[in-house]
Amino acid sequence: MALINLKINGKANSVDVEEDTPLLWVLRDHLGLVGTKYSCGIAQCGACTVHKNGEAIFSCITPAASLTEDEITTIEGLSEDGDHPVQKAWAEVDVAQCGYCQAGQIMNASAFLEKNPKPSMEEIDEAMNRNICRCGTYHKIREAVAMAAKSK
């Protein structure tokens, strides 16, 4: 076991876990931040996407111990009141079906739009291709990313 210090959503946290514990399970099992989802555990589906210094990463394969110097943002910390432009666009377009993958989709989209504020539709498709939605909300995800880009 090791004491790991993490800065998550602007707050300092200290957790006592095995060193190889992925950030995903630290968030969910030890910090009660369950918005970040487990689905594949091997960086294939994107449900576990969080930001590391503003960049989208797969928290399911990233050991928490490797992130002690970084600023981590989860869906819970993306905005104060759920009013990040991407979250607002997601609500406006009414994107979700089951909703399980959507936190990861939002985290991926928000990191992408920071880097590329005025993307083409092809660039949106390319960026969002790394997240799976089993319900098939892809048309609406695409529409919401485009809407968020316009509103920013």
């Binding site: 369950v34 555990g41 589906c45 498709d125 390319e126």
Partner: protein, 721 residues
């Protein structure tokens, strides 16, 4: 026309106390960074609210709580059910809060999600719940003002007396109204007066979903609970020996226990269990058939040729028809096993106590969850509670309660509250799959290209009927024979979104294109001829489908897709009836620099009245994307009783870049609403395969397409039009 219907007294029993059950999960066990939950304010509302019936309570503030009994897995029932209640209540939608009801077999009927049946089964009951409460509120206002109820009108939660200019909010008369006796008969609204039904009301859980609040089963934590993961046996095998020494040494592992054919690793959090499970050394030995996909291919061919067939439907005499045929067409179609793979893996919380059990989690059939716990513990069902969380997808997988039984076993043996979590590998290897199927179709044509005979023989698995014998083309062909051959497999099979029709529709609609081609007829006109025949003079006994509605969606699809008019666009048509709903689809391929590109799928749906256009579009597009994804890529093969594809790196699901445009249209048929969770999936594979044939003259008779040699060098592009 307003309808007068009998109320079911059982639905309107006054419930003691104020709350009528609901999901108030103790998510705030760790307050740290979790945002404040909206459900708390709903709880406050309920503290003062008066309960009217199983579906709604009204507070003095005018806030309305509507209970949604059926599990929400993305079909939007948690939004559309309350819309129906609120409509008849004449509620102000902005004052409505929705609570997922717990399992309650006294209050609710058919509290399950499956078969696209929730809306058709509940439509009238939900309407009556709203209308009855409105009746009582109006009666209370009439009594207060000493006027006749006939003089009052309602709108958006307010009661008006036009003659005196008085008005009063529902909340202000709720206490009085709740004391009155519900009427025996109630008048429902005229559909043309609907204000909420038919409008795009947003998903009631949006805020929680988009800000990461706990909603799903896997998000449930209880202070002091244990975590568990399970190693299961391959299909057809049993445990021979277990060496758990290395697994026990993993820090965080509390115990390793065995029950039935399962080895459970139990500990204080999830990650150590994932590690420990990989260190388990479990040897298995055969306990039945240990199957592989290569064996299935041979078995299917043998059973189609020589298997003992059960006749499902027989009209006329196919032997005579085929003997006299000018032309015979036949083809075989096959599909692989599929996993449901909802994004949220299986999980459940169970707490077995002295004489009672508490269950919390994602289930499509909460009553089965209760039954499973009763079977494992011997505790009476009335002492077992089931809280239904939001489901991160289901697709039929969560109709089974195998994972609930497991959680109960572990809780019972550990004498502690337990959350069982399946890994994705567990999900793919311990599934209850869409069975592999093989079909043989035969059609006879006369000299004029009329289909005189039709034969279908399918291999169903585990006593499942692989056919839908009373669906089209039954009724449209004079001589018809539908047969099923059973194959018993050790592999667990189960309903998978649009059971049977998820592949049968593709096979049938593709085969009918082959027949139309042989008959030298336009594929759409060929089907319309058959429909007209079934309409004018239906052949044989029971028919499940309404021919006029088949014609309705077909004609609208022909019109909306500009069928056959643009020589640069190669089209494929498919039409199918399933789960009470009628769907026609046209897939479109354009050639670009000599390679085909799938650009668009037109979808025409007749699901009766559309309750929520946004929700309906979701189900239509989602069904098409799902149907396309699995037809193109879905493949689960077995080797030695275990799937070869154990995670999403090998089990391919459709992604953003692989989705064409999907245009949606609805036939306004005037019928009551039917379900949409499944019916838009079945026709998609056929529409795409028929478009591919139209563009390339390559006929795809097996799924997934990407594994067929006819498909591999096509370089089919997918681009949104």
């Amino acid at each position: 026309m307003a309808t007068l219907t009998k109320t079911n007294r059982r639905d309107f029993l006054k419930i003691a106390g104020t709350t009528a059950g609901g999901l108030f999960i103790g998510f705030n066990w760790m307050s740290c960074d979790s945002p404040k939950m909206e459900v708390l304010s709903t709880e406050e509302v309920l503290a003062n609210a008066k309960n009217f019936n199983a579906f709604l309570s009204i507070a003095p503030s005018g806030d309305i709580v509507i209970y949604s009994p059926n599990p929400e897995l993305g079909q939007n029932i948690k939004t559309s059910f309350p819309m129906v209640v609120a409509e008849e209540l004449d509620a102000d939608w902005s004052k409505v809060r929705v609570v997922q009801a717990n399992l309650d077999t006294e209050k609710y009927q058919r509290q399950l999600t499956g078969g696209s049946g929730a809306m058709p089964h509940s439509w009238e009951r939900l309407r009556k719940a709203g209308a009855t409460a409105k009746y009582l509120l109006v009666a209370a206002a009439a009594s207060k003002w000493e006027v006749s109820a006939d003089e009052l009108s309602t709108s958006e939660g307010i009661i008006y007396h036009k003659a005196s200019g008085k008005k009063i909010g529902y909340g202000e008369v709720a206490n009085d109204a709740a004391l009155l006796t519900a009427p025996e008969e109630i008048t429902l609204k005229d559909k043309k007066d609907f204000k909420i039904i038919g409008t795009p009301v947003k998903n009631v859980d949006n805020e929680s979903i988009f800000s990461g609040k706990p909603l799903f089963g896997l998000d449930f934590y209880r202070e002091g609970m244990l975590h568990a993961m399970i190693q299961r046996a391959p299909f057809g095998m049993k445990i021979k020996s277990i060496d758990d020494a290395a697994a026990r040494n993993v820090a965080g592992v509390k115990d390793i226990i065995t029950f039935e054919n399962s080895v459970a690793v139990v500990g204080s959090s999830t990650w150590p269990l994932m590690k420990a499970k990989k260190l388990l050394k479990v040897e298995y030995e055969a306990d039945g058939k240990v199957e592989s996909s290569a064996d299935h291919d041979e078995i299917f061919k043998e059973l189609l040729a020589n298997g003992k067939a059960e006749v499902k439907r027989k009209d006329g005499n196919v032997n005579t028809a085929f003997r006299n045929a000018a032309q015979v067409v036949n083809a075989e179609y096959q599909c692989p096993f599929l996993s449901h793979s909802p994004m949220e893996p299986m999980n459940f919380f169970a707490h077995v106590m002295e004489g009672s059990v508490e269950l919390v989690g994602p289930t499509q059939t909460p009553e089965s969850a209760r039954r499973a716990a009763a079977e494992v513990t011997g505790i009476a069902p009335e002492n077992i509670t089931v809280e239904i969380t939001r489901l991160g997808g289901g697709f039929g997988r969560r109709l089974r309660a195998d994972y609930v039984s497991e959680a109960v076993h572990v809780s019972k043996m550990m004498n502690a509250p337990v959350k069982l979590t399946w890994s994705r590998e567990d999900d793919l290897t311990g599934g209850a799959y869409r069975p592999a199927v093989r079909y043989r179709f035969e059609a006879s044509l006369d000299a004029d290209g009329n289909m005189t005979g039709y034969k279908l023989r399918g291999v169903g698995m585990n006593a499942g009927n692989s056919t839908r014998e009373n669906n089209f083309p039954a009724g449209a062909v004079d001589n018809l024979l539908i047969e099923n051959v059973n194959y018993n497999s050790s592999i667990t099979t189960n309903a998978w979104r649009a059971p049977i029709t998820n592949f049968l529709a593709y096979a049938e609609q593709s085969f009918l294109d082959e027949v139309a081609l042989a008959a030298k007829k336009d594929p759409v006109d060929f089907r319309l001829e058959l429909f007209e025949k079934a309409k004018a003079n239906p052949v044989g006994g029971e028919l499940r489908y309404d021919v006029d509605r088949m014609i309705g969606v077909t004609k609208m699809a022909k019109e909306k897709s500009n069928w056959g008019k643009n020589p640069n666009v190669k089209q494929g048509f498919s039409v199918y009836f399933s789960h009470r709903t009628y769907v026609a689809q046209v897939a479109e391929i354009e050639m670009e620099n000599g390679t085909p590109s799938l650009k668009k799928i037109h979808v025409v749906t007749d699901c009766g009245m559309v309750v929520n256009p946004t929700g309906a579009n979701h189900q239509v597009r989602g069904g098409v994307v799902d149907g396309m994804g699995h037809a193109m890529y879905g493949n689960l093969t077995f080797e030695g009783g275990l799937p070869t594809q154990t995670n999403f790196d090998k089990y391919r699901l459709i992604r953003m870049k692989e989705v064409p445009a999907v245009d949606t249209y609805y036939v306004d048929s005037g019928f009551d609403p039917t379900g949409l969770g499944e019916p838009c999936l079945p026709p998609t594979g056929g529409a795409i395969a028929n478009a591919i044939f139209s563009a390339t003259e390559r006929r795809l008779r097996s799924q997934p397409f990407i594994d067929q040699k006819e498909f591999q060098d096509l370089n089919l592009g997918i681009k949104r039009a």
